[in-house]
C-alpha cells in the first residue's frame, strides 16, 4: 500500500473501533450527504441521490407491475384530520412539526407537516369512493415526510426524509391482506436482488406495529455490527381508518360497507442499510445493480502516447452496456484515483496502461474482494458483465453468511443475554406473546423483537423470558 493510500484510509475511523463514527465518516467522505443549517436534516448530494434514483426506478417498476399508480397529496395536514384516528395521533403527535403562521398572519388551525399521509389520503378516498366497481384504489406517492426525532443520523434517522408511501383500499379484508403481503414481497425483492442484502420477513408484535394498524409486516436485515435495520414495512388497517374517515361504498349486495385499507413504506434509510451492510475500511461498497457508477476506467501512465485515447475508447464501448466513468483527470495520480473510487464503492475498476495496451489486455479490479483479473481487451464487455454479476452475488452471500453466523438460538435469558453481549446479532427464541416479556427482554439485553418470521421454527414450547407456554418464534436484535 502506497503512502498515498494509507493517508486516504486514515481519514475514516476504523470500522471495528467505532462503527457509528465510521458510518458518518463514510457518508461525508463518499459524498453521499452532508449536514445542513436545518438541524437534523441532511442534504443528499448527487452521488447519494443517484443511488436513491436507482432504488426508486427499481421499486417503482415493481409497484406498477402490480397495478399501483402514483399520485400526490398535500404536505400539510390540518390538525383536526390528524386527530381523527386515536392510536395514530398518539403515535405521531410527539414528533410532528406544526405550521402556525403564514406571511404575517397566524393561522386559525395548525397544520402539521405530514409524518405519513393516511389521514389526508383517507379524506380523499372517502370523497372518491362510491361503489365496489371503483375498487381497489392502488395509489402510491414518492415524497418527503418529517418526524421531529431527537437524535438524528444521516439516512437512518433524519427529521426530514424521502420515501414512498403506498395507500390502498379494497372491497374485502382478504384482498387487502393479500396486498399487504404482496408489497412486503416487493420490499424483500428490492433489498435482496437490488441491494444484495438478505432479509427476514415476518410480522411485528403488537408493541412494535404501526400506530393505527391491525397488523404490520416487516423486512429486517442485519448490518456489519450485527444490529438490525428495519428496511420496509407493510400495514393492514382493516377498517380502522375507513370508519372515522367514512370511506364507504355500496357493495355487491347493494349494502353500504367500509373499505379495507393498507399502507406500506420504504425510505432513503435504504441508503443507510447499503452503507452499513456492505462497507469496509476502504469505504463504501456498492452492489453493481444499484451503483451509480458500475465501472471506473483508470488509465495508467496517462502521459504515454495513446493511453488516454485507448482508455476513452474502452470507456465509451462499455458505456453501451454499463454505467461507466472514465477518470482521466490530469491532476491526480492513479493511486489517488484508486482510493477515491474505492471510497465511493464503485464495484469494478479497470486499469489500462501502456504495457496492457501493447498486450491487448487490461486489469479488472474487484472492489468487494480486491481480486485482480487480467482480461483480453477483445472480450472485456463479456468479462465485465460476468464479474459484475459475480460481485452482486458474492456481496449478497457475504451478508447472508454474516447473518447466519451472528444468529443464535436462546432457550432462556442467560443464553439470550450472553449471546447478545458476545455477538450483538440476532437471537431466535420462543415467546409467550406478552408485552411484559418483550419489555423485560429489552431491559435485560437491549434487544427488541424484530418480527415473528414467516418461517417459524419449533424451538420448544416455553417462553424464553417467563417460561410459560409459547407457540411463537421471534427474532430479536438491537436496532438502529
Amino acid at each position: 500500500m502506497s503512502k498515498n493510500q494509507n493517508d486516504f484510509v486514515k481519514e475514516i475511523t476504523n470500522i471495528d473501533d467505532d462503527f457509528a463514527r465510521w458510518y458518518t465518516d463514510i457518508v461525508i467522505k463518499a459524498e453521499l450527504a452532508d449536514y445542513t443549517d436545518t438541524k437534523g436534516c441532511i442534504a443528499i448530494r448527487p452521488y447519494g441521490y443517484a443511488i436513491w434514483e436507482n432504488i426508486q426506478e427499481y421499486t417503482d417498476k415493481k409497484f406498477k407491475e402490480t397495478g399501483i399508480q402514483n399520485t400526490y397529496f398535500p404536505v400539510l395536514i390540518p390538525e383536526n384530520l390528524l386527530n381523527k384516528e386515536k392510536d395514530h395521533i398518539e403515535g405521531f403527535a410527539p414528533e410532528v412539526a406544526w405550521v402556525t403562521q403564514a406571511g404575517e398572519n397566524n393561522l386559525e388551525e395548525r397544520l402539521c407537516i405530514r409524518p405519513t399521509s393516511e389521514t389526508i389520503i383517507s379524506t380523499l378516498y372517502s370523497k372518491w369512493l362510491t361503489s365496489w366497481k371503483d375498487l381497489p384504489f392502488l395509489y402510491n406517492q414518492w415524497c418527503n415526510v418529517l418526524r421531529w426525532e431527537k437524535e438524528t443520523k444521516p439516512f437512518l434517522r433524519s427529521r426530514e426524509f424521502l420515501w414512498q408511501e403506498g395507500h390502498t383500499i379494497h372491497e374485502t379484508a382478504e384482498e387487502a391482506k393479500e396486498r399487504t403481503l404482496q408489497m412486503l414481497e416487493v420490499y424483500a425483492d428490492v433489498s435482496e436482488k437490488l441491494l444484495a442484502i438478505p432479509v427476514i420477513k415476518g410480522k411485528k408484535t403488537e408493541t412494535e406495529k404501526f400506530a393505527g394498524a391491525d397488523e404490520t409486516y416487516t423486512i429486517e436485515s442485519m448490518m456489519h455490527d450485527g444490529k438490525a435495520l428495519q428496511a420496509g414495512t407493510s400495514h393492514y388497517f382493516g377498517q380502522n381508518f375507513s370508519k372515522p374517515f367514512d370511506i364507504k361504498f355500496q357493495n355487491r349486495e347493494g349494502k353500504t360497507e367500509y373499505a379495507y385499507q393498507t399502507s406500506f413504506g420504504s425510505s432513503t434509510r435504504l441508503i443507510g442499510s447499503l452503507i452499513m451492510a456492505h462497507g469496509d475500511n476502504r469505504g463504501l461498497k456498492l452492489p453493481p445493480r444499484v451503483a451509480p457508477i458500475q465501472v471506473v476506467v483508470v488509465p495508467i501512465a496517462m502521459h504515454k502516447e495513446g493511453v488516454k485515447e485507448k482508455a476513452e475508447e474502452l470507456a465509451n464501448n462499455l458505456k453501451e452496456k454499463f454505467r461507466v466513468q472514465l477518470d482521466d483527470r490530469d491532476q491526480y495520480s492513479p493511486g489517488y484515483k484508486f482510493n477515491h473510487w474505492e471510497m465511493k464503492g464503485v464495484p469494478l475498476r479497470i486499469e489500462l496502461g501502456p504495457r496492457d495496451i501493447e498486450n491487448g489486455k487490461c486489469i479488472l479490479a474487484r472492489r468487494d474482494n480486491q481480486e485482480k483479473i487480467e482480461v483480453e481487451l477483445c472480450e472485456v464487455t463479456t468479462k465485465v458483465n460476468e464479474v459484475l454479476e459475480k460481485i452482486q452475488e458474492s456481496m449478497f452471500n457475504a451478508c447472508l453468511e454474516r447473518m447466519n453466523e451472528k444468529t443464535t438460538i436462546a432457550h432462556n435469558m442467560d443464553e439470550f443475554k450472553s449471546s447478545m453481549d458476545e455477538n450483538q446479532g440476532f437471537v431466535k427464541s420462543m415467546w409467550c406473546g406478552s408485552a411484559e416479556c418483550e419489555e423485560k427482554i429489552r431491559e435485560i439485553t437491549g434487544a427488541k423483537s424484530r418480527c415473528m418470521p414467516f418461517e417459524q421454527e419449533n424451538l420448544g414450547d416455553t417462553c424464553v423470558c417467563c417460561g410459560k407456554h409459547a407457540n411463537k418464534m421471534v427474532v430479536w436484535g438491537r436496532q438502529y
Copy 2:
C-alpha cells in the same frame, strides 16, 4: 350526437361562456386533481400525476444530457438564512409558511417551508466549494414548494406545488449566463416538442424579474382565451447570493473569487398550460407525446362472438409500441366510453366491431379534429404511429395559429387598449424601459410585460406609453 353524449358534455361549463369555470370543471371531470381539506392545496390524482411523470422523465433526460445531477436539500429553511439576501426575502416573505412548533415545544428559531431553495443551497455550496477545479456545480432537485397564495387555482396557482429547481455555480459570469440561456432552451423544447405549445422566449423586465436575480429569462405561451402563461423561468444571479452566502473559490490565478450563480424552475403549472392551451368543450385534449394513454381501444357490440378477444389482441399488439388502454368494461355503452376518453383527452380512439373484424379493418378516431379513418388491421401499427405524429404536429400548429392571430402591434395606447379589449391576446410594442410606463400600461389595459423577446422587431422608436425614445420591443399580455 347521441343523447348520452349531450348529457356528458353538459356536465362541463361551455369554454366560451366561462373559461375559468370550464378549466376547473376539466380538472375535476378528467380526474386530474381534486380539492382537499388543506385549503389552497390540491391532490394530484393518478391521471394527472401520470402526465407529470411524463413531463419529469422528458425534462430530466434533457437536463442530464447537459451534465445536470439530481440532489435533495431540506424543505425547512431557518429564518436567518432566508433573510440573508435582501431582495430575495422582500420578494418571498409575504407568502412564506412558518413552522414554529415541533411536538410539544416551541422552536427557538422559526423555520420556513421552502418557497424556493436558493438560500439553503447556497450555504452548502459555500461549504463544498474550494477551487475552480470543483466547478461547475450543476445540481437540480425535484420537490415540493409552498407559497401562501391568497387566490388559488388547481395547477396554476396552488399553495403547494411540485417543481424542479436547478441551481448552478460557475467560474465565470459568461459560463453562468450561457447556462441560464441553455436551460431556457430546454424549457422551450419541453413546451414545444412535448406539450405541443409554442412559446416566445425572452428576457423579463426589471419589474418582473425574480427576487434576487440580475436577469430573468422566460418562456411565455398563449392559452385558449388569449391570456399568457409563464411556463418556465431561468435566472442569472451574478454574485448576488455568492457574496452574502460566502460561496467563494480559489481561481486559476490563485486569488479568491465569488462564484457566479444561476437557478431555473418549471412546475406542475405545465399541466395547467396543457389543459388551457388545448382543451375544448369535449374536455381535455392531450398531445400524444405527453398523454398517459395514447390509444384507447373500444370494442363495439362486445357481446358478439370474438369481438372482445380481437380487441384484446389488437390492444396487446399496440402495447409494444404505444401506451394503450383497452376499455372492455361490460357496464358501459360504447357511446359512454367515447365521451369518457374524450373528456380525458386520449389522442386516438380505435373502434372495432363485428363488421370491422369481418372486413379486416378498424376505425381510428382522432380526438383533436374528430376525424375518422378506416385502416386495415394488418397495418394498424404503422397507421397509428403516423396519425399520432400528425396529431402532435397539428395540435402545435393550431396553438401557433391562434397565437399569431391574437398577437397585434400597437404604436400608441389607443391601439393597445382596443386591441387588448377586443382580442385579449398579446400586444407587441416598443417600450422606453421605465417602470412607470409598465405600471401605467397595466392600469390602463390589464396587461403586464411578458418579456423582451430574443427575436426583436423594429416597430418604430417611440414608447407606446410615453412617446419617448424606445429601443426595446416588448410582448404584453394579461396573465394567469
